[in-house]
């Protein structure tokens, strides 16, 4: 009799292990939805102009510190907006990284959208302007359910890609 109960106990244990390792099912994305992921790192423009040093000024500096231009380290914040048609899907003001705010501004954001055709507008301002964008991209994307559309900034081409 003990053996019978022992078998039952181990069976129950196995069933709990087997069950909770696959069930209940989990749907990270609701049916009929898709994802637009915005991810890039971008160094905004510096807050001030670089000043070219005169030869006299350079001569006063130690030889190993004679950089021809004196540039402020701090960079502007990056203003970013993502639209689908007239809807603003996401907007953010990204702060430059680093103690001196001289690094790249990073963004990684997942936005859940309904599947279907989306007229996407991506805009970014990195020069400190309160309005308007320094970079803009428009794309019409057919988003199937479950698709992951990625918005990136191509730093070489200086434009956004929507794929």
């Amino acid at each position: 009799m003990k053996l019978f109960f022992e078998i039952i106990a181990w069976t129950v244990f196995s069933v709990v292990v087997g069950l909770l390792s696959v069930w209940p099912r989990y749907a990270p994305v609701d049916e009929g939805n898709a994802i637009i992921t915005v991810t890039f790192a971008h160094a905004a423009q510096r807050v001030g102009e670089c000043r070219i040093l005169t030869q006299e000024e350079l001569n006063k500096l130690p030889p190993n510190m004679r950089k021809p231009a004196d540039c402020p380290r701090e960079r502007h914040v990056v203003r970013f907006e993502l639209h689908s048609g007239d809807d603003v899907l996401y907007e953010d003001v990204l702060v430059p990284s680093g103690i001196w705010s001289d690094g790249k501004a990073n963004i990684y954001q997942r936005i859940l959208v309904p599947a279907g055709r989306h007229d996407v507008f991506v805009g970014m301002n990195d020069s400190g302007g309160e309005s308007g964008f320094d970079y803009e991209t428009r794309a019409s994307v057919d988003v199937t359910p479950g698709r992951n559309v990625v918005v990136r900034f191509d730093s070489e081409a200086q434009q956004f890609t929507v794929r």
Binding site: K2, F5, E6, I8, A9, W10, T11, F13, S14, V16, V17, G18, L20, S21, V22, W23, P24, R25, Y26, A27, P28, V29, E31, A34, I35, T37, T39, F40, A41, S97, G103, K104, N106, I107, Y108, R110, P145, G146, R147, N148, V150, R152, R163
Partner: protein, 511 residues
Amino acid sequence: MIERIHSFGRGIFELLRRPLSRAFESEQNPLNYLGALTIYFCWIVLISGIWLLIFFRTSVSSAFESVEYLTREQWYLGGVMRSLHRYASDALIITILLHVIKEFVFNRYRLNRWFNWVTGIPLVWIIFPLGITGYWLVWDELAQYVAINTAELLDRIPIFTNSMAGNFMSDELLSDRFFTLMAFLHLIGLPIFLVFGIWLHVFRLNGPRINPPRRMMAAATLAMLVLSAIYPAISHDKADLAMAPQVLRFDWFYLHAYPLIQSWSPGWVWVLLVGISVLLTIAPWAPPARKTTVAVVDLDNCNGCKRCVDDCPFGAVEMVPRTDGSNYSHEASVDTDLCISCGICVGACPTATPFRTKSDLIPGIDLPNQTAADIRQDIIEQTEQPASEPRVMVFGCRDDRQTKAMRRAGGNVVTVRCMAHLQPSYLDFVLSRDHAESILLLGCEDGNCNYRLGAEWTEARINRERDPLLRKRTDSTKIAMGWLAPWSDFKDPAKKLAAFRDALAQEEGEA
């Protein structure tokens, strides 16, 4: 307040313990071997993992295919090994959870036990990443989900300049090096920390139970094998970074916090995980437990025999060079930080015998708040109480539920700290001096000794396998150990006593 929480927790734990104590003898009850079972499941994971490693390829393009080969082409061995690897990993989460709950509700995490409790917390922080990186390596849709969400979680730590999650947006961005890193963590890095962590977790214990009984190991292996055969672990579709995984067969043992990363935020998940860990870490001192009176060595009676050192479950007694000029080379010394006053050292001391008449009953080592002489006095007083025939002297452990229940019901019980607090000569004393005709040792239920080794040492001493032995003249059939069959079948201590009396009467009748 904390006692109420423990008491409530014990009530909940009882719901699980009761049916299991019907199914298992105490020495086979998995609830008495939760730590050892966890380690055993780790062994299954290790051995099955070695087989998987032989065939696994650590690259983005072929990781999935190599696991598929194991699962489908080599289903008879590789598939079984994969399932064993998966299910044993899941099973050990259950045993860890129950282990933590049990130690908490039975108040076995405070005083000198804080070290084992606190060193267990990093083990959890190692085991979860081990499981998570394991899912990652399969590189199916679940792996994709785990990879992206883990990266989002790690991105929240303000030490990374670029987003790690951004690397999982297209197949072109993902390199084999990332897989090599994950494989290194899963196969070498984390397991090394795990082995060291387990050693740290148990090294202060005397005789830690590293392995469960063989029969239990066989049963656990068989259970996992049957599960693997009936419901083999399989992969989802291959990861496709252009698509978001839709419906996942989710392993809730390892991934239970993951849905919160999206529904809350990675930051709040960190707050939750770190918050739970901090709460668990400070639990032994919140509030601080009252320090019990520790064992005291009496050098006039200590001959340096070392039995107390061998039997102390917590390594609280050590032998040091003699300080009193005696001819004996060593003496026992109690570490007051480690001693929790279980009295097992007193039960091991050959001088703790109640037959002593020429000198006062002062053993080589004793508990000041319940001396060996106090126990002898209790036995004598209990003898004077009216009792049913045949007369049974009942000994109970101070903190055990059964003892408390029996005392509440008006039963006469000589209470000691632990069954192993009773030196075997006390049993001889009871029977040979006619204080009773027989003895029932209630002990802790199901042999779940509050001081780890009390039930084990008591059995060994009574069975004359461990010093101090029960004297040969003592009829051990007159002694019932309540945590062993057939007495363990009776959960009510009064019924246990009645059953023992019936058995004695029947024996008498037959004689």
